[in-house]
Amino acid sequence: MENKSVGITISQCAKTYADGTRGLHPTDLTIAPGEVLALLGPSGCGKTTLLRIIAGLETPDAGSRIMFGTSDVTHIPIEKRQVGMVFQHYALFPQMTVQANIGYGLRIRGASADEQRRVVGELVDLVRLNGLENKRPAELSGGQRQRVALARAVASRPRVLLLDEPLTALDAKLKEQLRDELAELLRQLRITAVHVTHDQREALAIADRMAVMQAGRILQVGNGESLYRQPAHPFVATFLGRVNQIERSAGHAARNQLELGGVTQACPDHCAGATQLLVRPEDVEIHGMDYPGSVPATIARRVFLGDHLQLTIKVAGHQALLADVSRDHPAQAGDQVGVFIAPHQWMPNRADL
């Protein structure tokens, strides 16, 4: 299919509701043509508001500007913005068949019957709905409905595709499978897409870059790996995965050292100055007491989670730490162990830098 995707430039976009609450603080964001960007955050963080502003379903405050490529769409209504949208519960037209749903946008724009048939046929192949063309949405499974919604949204070759929590309505197992399918389809379509989700795994699997949002602001934008490894904000660190937080005294912070269980160790340069350090549970290693460089600790709790063990460990003078270890690890609750954290795994809590 011919690609009309353009980049999106959002400048100083804000949304203040009638009662004075700020749904979105002035926000700048640039999305490259063909890029898939996830807006990631908990409910009420403003991600859906931002998506609806890009779509044209919400009017942003004065001074906001949205560009699709080189055209300013700030004051263009959604009907004329040429966006494709996939809704949380798909919003398929219940009285129409699968092919009528997919072809709706083309029909509205007055495409010829031949073109409608051709495009709908192509999309039915693409999203593997062959044989279901004449079914109604009520007769489809959740995953099939989701694919119809996607096909309908891209049928009239939108400039931008907007996905509002497209996988929320599915159960966990199916979600995982469809997440990879969706990522694959978006790559095939090479369409600029903004994908709203509260599920960090979904964002990691689908998006090229993600913008983590909290309380109406974008905290950090970057690809999943850099956000996971170098979170600029403790919220980003906790939202993308679990972290342990460890306090250190002003004196240790000044010398960039950490005292853990009576052992003082040097910290990497990027941690200098931070009074709070972060470390991910999968980076906490559990060894025997005699392991070189390890800190004495006690296993307080052992939880078997199938693909790994989650251990809660007590180190004297600190809050309990979480450690994720392989499911075959011999540790049992009550064991005395040596905890080792490789120095380069420590992340500074940048909010207090």
């Binding site: 379903l57 037209f93 946008g105 309908r152």
Partner: protein
């Protein structure tokens, strides 16, 4: 999963049977009264259809009038009520809520009072006063709230708001999404509301009794007239005719409703 039907306890059976019998007796007596020669003597006086024939000769036209009036009333409430329901459902103004309450007022206010107000305002416009349009207006005032309420609550459903947004994102204009998406999506509610309006208009007596002229009588007004002025057998025969006319109409309308529900509902 297998579904085990719950067994009804005997006491429940008994209560159901008593209530059913209590409710059916008056209906059966009424039907019988219309078919016997002399109600005082009961069945021993013999069965006859002459009361039915007499009623049909005297009041047959009221049956046609009532059916037509109810049909036109459905049409008018559709044209006025569905757009009104949409406007109220999508309005963010708090006045919309007050307006909807006001609209419901004619249901609470006795029909006699509404009718009196209509007479005071338009009673002097002779052509209007003497035509069926005058009664139609009364019926619309009384039934419109039901149409607006039922269709409005369907249009307020979250999925409907999303359907409309989806249609907008695909480029549909207001008319295209209203007629092509919203109306079909709430069709079961619209059909149910039509059925309600038809039924209410068919049986409306209060307002109609105040508004009618000797030349503009509906079935319930004729019924009251026959009860007041004739033998009990004639009145009962009239009831029987009412049932004979209304039951098949209701069945057909309900069957249509079910059909649409099945094919357009979720």
């Amino acid at each position: 999963m297998r579904h085990h039907p719950q067994k009804m306890p005997p006491a429940m059976w008994l209560i159901t049977a008593i209530v059913t019998l209590f409710m059916l007796t008056p209906m059966l007596l009424s039907v019988m009264a219309g078919l016997v020669e002399n109600y005082g003597q009961g069945l021993s006086s013999g069965l006859t259809t002459r009361w039915l024939v007499e009623v049909w000769a005297g009041y047959g036209n009221t049956v046609v009038v009532s059916l037509l009036l109810a049909a036109v009333c459905v049409g008018v409430t559709l044209l006025l009520g569905v757009p009104c329901a949409y406007a109220l459902a999508r309005s963010r103004s708090r006045w919309a809520h007050h307006f909807e309450e006001l609209l419901t007022l004619p249901v609470a206010v006795p029909g006699l009072a509404s009718a009196l107000a209509l007479l005071l305002a338009y009673g002097s416009v002779a052509h209007f006063r003497q035509s069926f349009a005058f009664i139609l207006v009364g019926h619309v005032v009384f039934t419109l709230p039901f149409m607006v309420r039922m269709v409005g609550s369907a249009l307020r459903r979250k999925e409907l708001v999303a359907l409309e947004e989806a249609a907008r994102s695909l480029g549909a204009s207001f008319t295209q999404r209203f007629l092509g998406i919203l109306i079909p999506a709430v069709l079961p509610s619209i059909v149910a509301a039509c059925l309600m309006v038809f039924t209410l208009s068919m049986g409306e007596f209060n307002l109609t009794w105040m508004l009618h002229t000797p030349l503009t009588r509906t079935l319930p007004v004729g019924l009251a007239d026959s009860y007041a002025s004739m033998r009990i057998e004639v009145g009962s025969a009239y009831t029987l005719i009412f049932l004979i006319v209304i039951l098949p109409v209701m069945w057909v309308l309900q069957a249509m409703g079910h059909f649409i529900e099945k094919h357009y509902g979720k």
